[in-house]
Protein backbone atom coordinates (compact mmCIF):
# COMPACT_ATOMS: atom_id res chain seq x y z
CA UNK A 1 0.00 0.00 0.00
CA UNK A 2 1.35 3.39 -0.93
CA UNK A 3 1.72 6.07 1.67
CA UNK A 4 -1.12 8.52 1.76
CA UNK A 5 -1.63 11.74 3.60
CA UNK A 6 -5.28 11.23 4.53
CA UNK A 7 -6.80 14.55 5.61
CA UNK A 8 -9.55 14.60 8.18
CA UNK A 9 -12.78 16.35 7.16
CA UNK A 10 -14.90 15.57 10.22
CA UNK A 11 -15.62 18.07 12.95
CA UNK A 12 -17.66 17.46 16.08
CA UNK A 13 -20.75 19.63 16.18
CA UNK A 14 -21.75 22.57 14.01
CA UNK A 15 -19.32 24.60 11.89
CA UNK A 16 -19.35 28.15 13.25
CA UNK A 17 -19.58 31.21 10.98
CA UNK A 18 -16.51 32.54 12.83
CA UNK A 19 -14.54 29.44 11.79
CA UNK A 20 -15.57 30.06 8.17
CA UNK A 21 -14.48 33.70 8.44
CA UNK A 22 -11.15 32.58 9.93
CA UNK A 23 -10.68 30.07 7.15
CA UNK A 24 -11.23 32.81 4.53
CA UNK A 25 -8.80 35.13 6.35
CA UNK A 26 -6.04 32.52 6.20
CA UNK A 27 -6.05 32.80 2.40
CA UNK A 28 -5.10 36.47 2.26
CA UNK A 29 -1.42 35.49 2.19
CA UNK A 30 -1.97 33.47 -1.00
CA UNK A 31 -1.62 36.28 -3.51
CA UNK A 32 -2.08 34.02 -6.53
CA UNK A 33 -5.76 33.49 -5.62
CA UNK A 34 -8.35 35.49 -7.54
CA UNK A 35 -11.55 33.69 -6.60
CA UNK A 36 -13.00 31.59 -3.80
CA UNK A 37 -16.11 29.45 -4.04
CA UNK A 38 -17.85 28.29 -0.87
CA UNK A 39 -20.78 25.96 -0.32
CA UNK A 40 -22.40 25.69 3.10
CA UNK A 41 -24.98 23.13 4.11
CA UNK A 42 -27.40 24.38 6.76
CA UNK A 43 -29.82 22.15 8.69
CA UNK A 44 -33.33 22.90 7.50
CA UNK A 45 -36.45 22.70 9.67
CA UNK A 46 -38.23 20.39 7.21
CA UNK A 47 -41.72 19.16 7.88
CA UNK A 48 -42.15 15.43 7.28
CA UNK A 49 -45.59 13.86 7.80
CA UNK A 50 -46.66 16.83 9.87
CA UNK A 51 -43.63 16.69 12.17
CA UNK A 52 -40.96 19.41 12.29
CA UNK A 53 -37.23 18.56 12.17
CA UNK A 54 -35.35 20.14 15.09
CA UNK A 55 -31.84 18.73 14.41
CA UNK A 56 -29.89 16.21 12.37
CA UNK A 57 -27.60 13.72 14.06
CA UNK A 58 -24.72 12.84 11.72
CA UNK A 59 -22.69 9.62 11.89
CA UNK A 60 -20.12 8.28 9.44
CA UNK A 61 -18.03 5.25 8.59
CA UNK A 62 -15.12 7.58 9.08
CA UNK A 63 -12.16 5.62 7.73
CA UNK A 64 -13.99 4.70 4.52
CA UNK A 65 -15.37 8.22 4.14
CA UNK A 66 -11.86 9.66 4.46
CA UNK A 67 -10.50 7.18 1.87
CA UNK A 68 -13.32 8.17 -0.49
CA UNK A 69 -12.70 11.87 0.11
CA UNK A 70 -8.98 11.36 -0.48
CA UNK A 71 -9.74 9.91 -3.92
CA UNK A 72 -12.22 12.70 -4.73
CA UNK A 73 -9.66 15.32 -3.67
CA UNK A 74 -6.99 13.81 -5.95
CA UNK A 75 -9.40 13.66 -8.89
CA UNK A 76 -10.57 17.25 -8.36
CA UNK A 77 -7.00 18.57 -8.23
CA UNK A 78 -6.26 16.57 -11.40
CA UNK A 79 -9.28 18.04 -13.19
CA UNK A 80 -9.25 21.68 -12.03
CA UNK A 81 -6.44 24.17 -11.62
CA UNK A 82 -7.03 24.87 -7.92
CA UNK A 83 -4.88 26.64 -5.37
CA UNK A 84 -6.69 25.22 -2.34
CA UNK A 85 -9.51 22.91 -1.38
CA UNK A 86 -11.00 22.45 2.09
CA UNK A 87 -13.91 20.25 3.18
CA UNK A 88 -15.52 20.03 6.62
CA UNK A 89 -18.45 17.76 7.52
CA UNK A 90 -20.08 17.89 10.94
CA UNK A 91 -20.69 14.80 13.04
CA UNK A 92 -23.05 14.64 16.01
CA UNK A 93 -26.18 16.67 16.60
CA UNK A 94 -26.56 19.80 14.47
CA UNK A 95 -29.58 21.97 15.23
CA UNK A 96 -31.70 23.65 12.55
CA UNK A 97 -30.08 26.86 11.32
CA UNK A 98 -26.58 25.55 12.07
CA UNK A 99 -23.95 24.76 9.42
CA UNK A 100 -23.11 21.07 8.87
CA UNK A 101 -21.03 21.19 5.67
CA UNK A 102 -18.35 23.63 4.49
CA UNK A 103 -16.70 23.19 1.08
CA UNK A 104 -14.14 25.85 0.12
CA UNK A 105 -12.15 26.04 -3.15
CA UNK A 106 -9.80 28.71 -4.46
CA UNK A 107 -8.16 29.36 -7.81
CA UNK A 108 -6.40 32.11 -9.76
CA UNK A 109 -9.45 32.70 -11.98
CA UNK A 110 -13.03 32.13 -10.90
CA UNK A 111 -14.14 29.22 -13.10
CA UNK A 112 -12.08 26.35 -11.62
CA UNK A 113 -13.04 27.27 -8.04
CA UNK A 114 -16.75 27.53 -8.92
CA UNK A 115 -16.88 24.30 -10.93
CA UNK A 116 -14.78 22.30 -8.48
CA UNK A 117 -16.84 23.42 -5.49
CA UNK A 118 -20.08 22.31 -7.10
CA UNK A 119 -18.60 18.97 -8.16
CA UNK A 120 -17.17 18.27 -4.69
CA UNK A 121 -20.58 18.90 -3.09
CA UNK A 122 -22.30 16.54 -5.54
CA UNK A 123 -19.67 13.84 -5.16
CA UNK A 124 -19.41 13.89 -1.39
CA UNK A 125 -23.18 13.63 -1.02
CA UNK A 126 -23.19 10.61 -3.34
CA UNK A 127 -19.97 8.89 -2.33
CA UNK A 128 -19.22 9.46 1.36
CA UNK A 129 -20.66 6.99 3.89
CA UNK A 130 -22.24 9.61 6.13
CA UNK A 131 -25.75 9.41 7.51
CA UNK A 132 -28.10 12.07 8.80
CA UNK A 133 -30.81 11.12 11.27
CA UNK A 134 -33.46 13.82 11.27
CA UNK A 135 -34.72 14.31 14.81
CA UNK A 136 -38.24 15.67 15.20
CA UNK A 137 -39.44 18.01 17.90
CA UNK A 138 -41.32 15.07 19.50
CA UNK A 139 -38.12 13.01 19.79
CA UNK A 140 -38.90 10.52 16.99
CA UNK A 141 -36.59 10.35 14.00
CA UNK A 142 -36.33 9.75 10.26
CA UNK A 143 -33.26 8.70 8.27
CA UNK A 144 -32.45 11.30 5.64
CA UNK A 145 -31.61 10.15 2.11
CA UNK A 146 -29.71 12.26 -0.42
CA UNK A 147 -31.37 12.50 -3.81
Amino acid sequence: MKEKNIKNIFVDGPISPAFIGGSIAKHSAKKEIGGHSIFLGQVRADEIDGKRVSAIDYTAYQETALEQMHAIRAEIFEKYNLTCMHVYQSLGTIKTGEICLFVFTSSAHRKPAIMACEEIVERLKAELPVWGREIFEDGTHHWKENI
Binding site: C100, K125, P129, K144, E145
Partner: protein, 77 residues
Protein backbone atom coordinates in the same frame (compact mmCIF):
# COMPACT_ATOMS: atom_id res chain seq x y z
CA UNK B 1 -13.95 -18.65 9.22
CA UNK B 2 -15.28 -15.52 10.86
CA UNK B 3 -16.44 -12.36 9.10
CA UNK B 4 -16.77 -9.17 11.13
CA UNK B 5 -19.90 -7.15 10.42
CA UNK B 6 -20.38 -3.42 10.85
CA UNK B 7 -23.72 -1.77 10.24
CA UNK B 8 -24.66 1.89 9.93
CA UNK B 9 -27.60 4.27 9.87
CA UNK B 10 -31.02 2.71 9.72
CA UNK B 11 -29.48 -0.72 9.08
CA UNK B 12 -27.82 -0.56 12.51
CA UNK B 13 -31.36 -0.28 13.89
CA UNK B 14 -32.47 -3.58 12.37
CA UNK B 15 -29.24 -5.64 12.33
CA UNK B 16 -27.66 -6.61 15.60
CA UNK B 17 -24.97 -9.13 14.64
CA UNK B 18 -21.34 -8.07 14.73
CA UNK B 19 -19.82 -11.24 13.32
CA UNK B 20 -20.75 -14.30 11.30
CA UNK B 21 -19.12 -17.74 11.49
CA UNK B 22 -19.26 -20.21 8.62
CA UNK B 23 -17.43 -23.33 7.42
CA UNK B 24 -18.39 -22.79 3.77
CA UNK B 25 -16.47 -20.55 1.36
CA UNK B 26 -18.23 -17.20 1.29
CA UNK B 27 -18.33 -14.16 -0.99
CA UNK B 28 -20.06 -10.79 -0.62
CA UNK B 29 -23.07 -11.86 -2.72
CA UNK B 30 -23.48 -14.92 -0.49
CA UNK B 31 -23.18 -12.81 2.62
CA UNK B 32 -25.93 -10.49 1.36
CA UNK B 33 -28.26 -13.44 0.76
CA UNK B 34 -27.59 -14.81 4.22
CA UNK B 35 -28.12 -11.44 5.92
CA UNK B 36 -31.33 -10.79 3.99
CA UNK B 37 -32.59 -14.19 5.17
CA UNK B 38 -31.85 -13.34 8.80
CA UNK B 39 -33.11 -9.74 8.45
CA UNK B 40 -35.85 -9.62 5.81
CA UNK B 41 -36.22 -5.84 6.29
CA UNK B 42 -32.82 -5.54 4.59
CA UNK B 43 -34.44 -6.57 1.29
CA UNK B 44 -36.42 -3.32 1.27
CA UNK B 45 -33.34 -1.11 1.68
CA UNK B 46 -30.90 -0.11 -1.06
CA UNK B 47 -27.57 -0.75 0.62
CA UNK B 48 -23.89 -1.00 -0.28
CA UNK B 49 -21.08 -3.05 1.24
CA UNK B 50 -17.56 -2.05 2.11
CA UNK B 51 -14.96 -4.81 2.42
CA UNK B 52 -12.03 -3.87 4.64
CA UNK B 53 -12.99 -0.18 4.28
CA UNK B 54 -13.14 -0.29 0.46
CA UNK B 55 -16.56 0.13 -1.11
CA UNK B 56 -17.52 -3.08 -2.95
CA UNK B 57 -18.34 -2.57 -6.64
CA UNK B 58 -18.70 -6.25 -7.59
CA UNK B 59 -18.81 -9.64 -5.90
CA UNK B 60 -15.68 -10.31 -3.80
CA UNK B 61 -14.37 -13.42 -2.01
CA UNK B 62 -14.27 -13.20 1.77
CA UNK B 63 -11.44 -14.39 4.01
CA UNK B 64 -11.49 -15.05 7.71
CA UNK B 65 -11.03 -11.81 9.65
CA UNK B 66 -12.46 -9.64 6.88
CA UNK B 67 -14.54 -6.65 7.95
CA UNK B 68 -17.73 -6.06 5.98
CA UNK B 69 -19.73 -2.88 6.47
CA UNK B 70 -23.42 -2.77 5.57
CA UNK B 71 -24.28 0.78 4.51
CA UNK B 72 -27.72 2.25 3.75
CA UNK B 73 -28.05 5.17 1.28
CA UNK B 74 -25.71 8.03 2.16
CA UNK B 75 -27.08 11.31 3.45
CA UNK B 76 -24.12 13.49 4.32
CA UNK B 77 -23.75 17.14 3.47
Amino acid sequence: MEINILSFGKIAEIMTITSLKTDEPMDTDGLKLQLEESYPALKTIKYKLALNKQIVQQNRKLLSGDVVAIMPPFSGG
